[in-house]
Symmetry: C2
Subunit: 145 residues, 2 copies
């Protein structure tokens, strides 16, 4: 068996797919001076309510060192808050502020429109199937060592 060519290797194909999709969202994020990762953190907090750092990092697919820096930036902009948990001085509860929530909600319509356009071009059924197959791959491989 030959190794896959770079044009058909799974990691590179996933990378390129992500790039072409994110290209649609970058202008919107840039207009609001927010990075893709900061955006993910805020969306997770908006969806789930206050979380501790480890849980937030996992849900936003961001590594702890990055999250530390992102929290600092978002706190300075008053888009999120950090409150120490009693009984355990290591942990803190991270929450989105009303300003942060307002940002998310302001962008929601544009965000939905972008997703709908992608889905329309690619085909709604294919789109859902692709998501299912990716989730299945994640499930399969994340249970490995």
């Amino acid at each position: 068996m030959l190794p896959p060519s770079t044009r058909r290797s799974l990691p590179m194909t996933l990378l390129r797919a992500r790039e072409v999709i994110m290209a649609h969202f970058r202008p919107m994020l840039a207009r609001h001076d927010i990075t893709e990762q900061q955006w993910r953190v805020l969306r997770v907090l908006a969806e789930t309510g206050p979380l501790e750092a480890t849980e937030l990092a996992g849900r936003a697919s961001i590594l702890p060192p990055s999250l530390t820096r992102i929290i600092k930036a978002l706190e300075e902009r008053r888009l999120m808050t950090r409150n120490r948990v009693k009984d355990d001085g290591r942990r803190a509860l991270l929450a989105i502020t009303p300003s942060g929530l307002a940002l998310i909600e302001d962008l929601a319509p544009e965000r939905i429109a972008i997703y709908e356009a992608i889905e329309a071009r690619y085909g709604a059924e294919q789109y859902e199937q692709l998501l299912d197959m990716l989730e299945s791959l994640i499930q399969t491989e994340s249970s490995e060592s």
Copy 2:
């Protein structure tokens, strides 16, 4: 229509999929003190022969500023070379060295084994179908502005 939850957004799902796959390759790369991106650059050069920087960046999905740094690192380790093109002082031909090629070839068996294991767990047909669907998505979206 609601916006997709973070657990089913296409960009985040692509990101997580890439993470679980790359987790299998990272130990191999770390043992040889090479980054994922350096590895991509060397593989592209090994496959295609000498290329100019713009072409190489495109094929390896690496942005020009990153490629500049990677070239410097790989040149210092004598894994690739850079030769100016006559007639155009801006361009240079980038090529893998015998040492670089030896590195690629040394790792080939382990690389193939990793791919085969993933394919076996996920299912060969599903695996090919997923690649087809991703390429189709890339095709669809890359022709958009």
